[in-house]
């Protein structure tokens, strides 16, 4: 009975409440009070709203996400573009240390196309130029080197350096007289390639020591540079125009959509060992302005063929990026790389034309991998593009034959198609030429001054900082400062002993 009475009491209260709420008078009053709390547009406001303060912010809908992220994306779909944009801002933008940036990029195994510098397949130079997005600066088969080399001062020390170089060659041959025949026969390919390689390395080492020690008096960068032997350089990059390998649905990550697996860019991994590497505190100067027309020809460098058709391989590898030194070293920029492999056996088996292409491509890819690795050490990567161009030079020699190649890297966003990123890289490759013809009676004959001048220009090219541009804007750490060791020791005489005789 008590419960029933309570229900009746509740019902009656509800009925009263319902009656009040549904009455038109109450509704109007409620509506006006509610409307006072909402900031209505001016055309819908009543006269009662005029007394409200105007400093309240207008409420509206949240900002609509644009269809494509800022920047040019070419033929990419919306999801692919936002994926790359998010990688740049959310992931790479928050990492400030170089080691962590490199770990983020390489802490995974991927199916990547192998991109070694030594490639013995025929007609490989065009493929290497397309994959590295490079324009070869040559005209009518003539070698054109960058104009910056004309400003290198070699006249003051030229005669002295020439004398030192000739002496070094003669001493080296005198010490290993029994094995001279192997070096002379290296061009024919009859010598064992490994033996010729060892001899070439020794001869190159003596020539470089002679020139660098002789010229360091007047060139500061040679006093504080680092020279290392047998340096491993590795770099990985994604290139547009090559389809990714098919991944079955069962092995795909649930976080990534189907479109990301069907992108028109694939991973390439290059790794090799450089015989000698000279590193300096500052980078090499740029060879050509990034606004030059040669640097905006990416539409001519699109890969035309699948790498498998041209004899290339892909494999599941751990990605790797190393520039050849420990992080924290003061000398972070590669000045010159020297490689001694001459591919003599390939020349004998396949002929001159095939050898010429592979030999030229060796220097090109060495430079490219060196530039990409240097850029990663400075905090740049495929998400955060370069702010200034990176340059590299390679001397390809066996002690007698020299080939010089230069490279300028203008952009790391190789995964973008030419419509989105028309920036291309530039390379200069010289023909192979002899420094000297031979030796008779332990004396050098046929010394080529032109080749020696180019060699000196390469080694004596002064590195410089970029005008007003910070070298590592994406990174917050400082490398050590280079130390110049003084060769003269001060001897202080504390006490002089005089003996009685």
């Amino acid at each position: 009975m008590a419960a029933l009475s309570r229900v009746r009491h509740m019902k009656s209260k509800y009925c009263i409440f319902q009656a009040i709420f549904t009455s038109s008078k109450w509704r109007c009053q409620f509506a006006t009070e509610a409307a006072r709390k909402i900031d209505l547009p001016s055309d819908l406001k009543d006269d009662a709203q005029e007394g409200l303060p105007d400093d309240k912010p207008e409420k509206g809908y949240p900002a609509v996400k644009p269809w494509m992220p800022p920047g040019s994306w070419g033929e990419m779909t919306r999801q692919q573009a936002w994926f790359w944009h998010r990688g740049e801002i959310n992931h790479m933008g928050r990492i400030t240390h170089v080691k962590e940036k490199i770990k983020f990029l390489t802490d995974k195994q991927m199916v990547a196309w192998k991109f070694p510098p030594i490639n013995i397949q025929p007609n490989v130079l065009n493929y290497q130029l397309e994959v590295t997005n490079t324009i070869l600066a040559s005209k009518d088969d003539k070698y054109l080197k960058p104009e910056i080399y004309q400003n290198v001062d070699i006249k003051t020390d030229y005669e002295e350096l020439k004398k030192l170089c000739i002496e070094a060659i003669e001493i080296e041959h005198a010490l290993h007289r029994d094995k001279l025949k192997y070096l002379a026969a290296a061009k024919d390919g009859r010598a064992k390639s490994w033996h010729a390689l060892l001899r070439g390395r020794l001869l190159t080492q003596t020539i470089l020591n002679a020139i660098m020690s002789g010229a360091s008096r007047n060139h500061e960068h040679l006093q504080s540079c680092s020279v290392d032997k047998e340096v491993t350089v590795a770099a990985c990059f994604q290139r547009n125009g090559v389809k990714r390998p098919w991944v079955p649905v069962s092995r795909r990550s649930p976080d990534l959509s189907k479109e990301l697996y069907l992108q028109n860019n694939a991973m390439f991994q290059g790794k090799h060992v450089v015989d000698f590497q000279v590193r300096t505190f500052l980078p090499l100067p740029q060879f050509i302005s990034p606004d030059h027309e040669m640097c905006m020809q990416a539409d001519k460098c699109v890969p035309q063929y699948n790498p498998k058709v041209l004899g290339q391989f892909r494999e599941l590898t751990q990605l790797e990026i190393t520039s050849g030194f420990n992080l924290g070293s003061p000398n972070e920029f590669t000045h010159t790389s020297v490689v001694c492999e001459q591919l003599g056996r390939l020349r004998l088996v396949s002929g001159e034309e095939h050898w010429e292409q592979s030999h030229a491509g060796y220097g090109l890819v060495t430079n490219f991998l060196s530039c990409v690795a240097q850029a990663h050490v400075q905090g740049f990567n495929m998400f955060q593009d370069l702010v200034y161009p990176f340059t590299a030079q390679t001397i390809h020699t066996d002690g007698r034959t020299f080939r010089f190649s230069m490279f300028q890297l203008n952009s790391l966003k190789l995964w973008k198609d030419p419509k989105a990123s028309p920036v291309s890289n530039v390379a200069w490759i010289s023909p192979a030429d002899n420094l000297y013809e031979g030796l008779t009676d332990d004396r050098v004959i046929g010394f080529n001054d032109e080749v020696f001048q180019r060699l000196c220009q390469c080694l004596l090219l002064k590195p410089s900082s970029r005008d007003g541009i910070k070298l590592n804007p994406n990174v917050k750490y400082k490398a050590g400062t280079p130390k110049i060791l003084k060769s003269v020791k001060k001897v202080e005489i504390e006490e002089e002993v005089v003996y009685d005789r």
């Binding site: 397949q121 025929p122 007609n123 063929y305 699948n306 058709v309 004899g311």
Partner: protein, 168 residues
């Protein structure tokens, strides 16, 4: 049972070539023999450069055999040869149980096929694409089919001398 026995089931182009003896300098000249080598030009699925041609070859042919086959028989200089073995998956026959393998719900057997990517030294070759014939419309094809069918029935009826009442 013939002399070859079970080998007769395998076609000539699929039979394995027996090992021939090595020839050393000074030995008597071996007789000329005709090995079961064959090469078949195949249309590539991807875009190829003009100086690279794709062949399907006998699985026992080496790179040197392929180069010499083209140079001596067809007089085309060869710069480079690369070979690749692809496995063709087909439904396993009931009499070949040892080579069966379950792939999903299917029972398959794998037949290895050898492909050769030949880089020509001087010549260029582009695989010709056949001309596409214009397809007739569906109604015209139906009429053609019915005519042929009528012709077959007419011949059959005349051959069996079927009375007119029973003819179609």
């Amino acid at each position: 049972m013939t002399r070859l026995g079970f080998l007769e089931r395998i076609p000539l182009w699929q039979r394995t070539i027996p090992k021939y003896p090595l020839h050393f300098k000074g030995d008597p000249q071996l007789r000329v023999y005709l090995p079961l080598f064959w090469m078949k030009m195949v249309q590539p699925a991807n875009k190829f450069p003009k100086n690279i041609v794709l062949f399907k070859v006998h699985p026992q042919m080496s790179k040197l055999d392929i180069a010499q086959y083209l140079e001596k028989i067809y007089e085309t200089p060869v710069a480079n040869v690369r070979t690749e073995i692809r496995e063709q998956q087909i439904m396993a026959p009931w009499w070949n149980r040892s080579k069966k393998q379950w792939v999903g719900r299917k029972v398959v057997t794998r037949i290895p096929e050898k492909y050769a990517y030949v880089t020509l030294a001087k010549d260029e070759f582009v695989y010709p694409t056949p001309k596409k014939t214009e397809k007739s419309s569906d109604s015209e094809r139906y009429k053609k089919y019915m005519k042929i069918r009528e012709g077959h029935y007419k011949e059959l009826n005349e051959a069996l001398s079927v009375p007119a009442w029973f003819r179609r």
